[in-house]
Symmetry: C2
Subunit: 121 residues, 2 copies
């Protein structure tokens, strides 16, 4: 039986940007926490939607073919599968990601910001 | 393309307890908001885990065969599939539920607190 998960306590254990950490599983989906700052790479996930819930700070999600989405704490956005997007945060923000297990943060784009998968805290 | 979803603005549209409202979809999963107060019915979901993230207030989740889980804002718990549970909130609380589309709030237990599925706000 899993225990209650305090997101703030988990965020306190994260000291890198753009490195999602798994905190819980829901069937074959995972809840991941990430601290984001700066500009990520344009990428897409061809097999899945991807949910972003901002917990602290502000996040912009630039989208190919649509207006940029601006998220503040308590705001949720689901990037549709196959849509190229780029998260950008001027200041550090804290985000809860929900997506199927095994999704790589940079999708098919790869590059130096690609993080290891399935790293739990 | 869906838009950013402000959870507080959505909660302001909910005037009933124990009636989950869908605010977003992630593949074949749904994000549902619910205001809870009082004691729910004991029930289980044999086909799926069920995630509870408390946004405001406090929620206890009584579990068959395990200690009750107490959740405050910013705390997450995933009830494993097949585990009988009963949410209890002394005061009104606001909860984000994540689970596959089509899950009924009372599981197989039924009863008067059974809510309609797939009601969006």
């Amino acid at each position: 039986m899993t225990a209650a998960i305090n997101l703030a306590a988990k965020f306190a254990q994260i000291h890198e940007h753009w490195s999602p950490r798994v905190v819980a599983e829901l069937n074959d989906y995972q809840f991941k926490l990430a601290k984001l700052q700066g500009e990520f790479v344009w990428h897409q996930h061809d097999e899945t939607d991807e949910a972003f819930l901002v917990i602290d700070g502000e996040l912009s999600i630039e989208l190919d073919g649509a207006d940029t989405v601006h998220l503040r704490p308590g705001e949720l956005y689901v990037v549709p599968k196959g849509v190229s997007h780029r998260p950008v945060a001027e200041q550090e923000c804290q985000v809860l990601l929900i997506e199927p297990s095994g999704v790589t943060n940079t999708g098919a784009a790869g590059g130096e910001l690609t993080a290891a998968n399935n790293v739990w805290i």
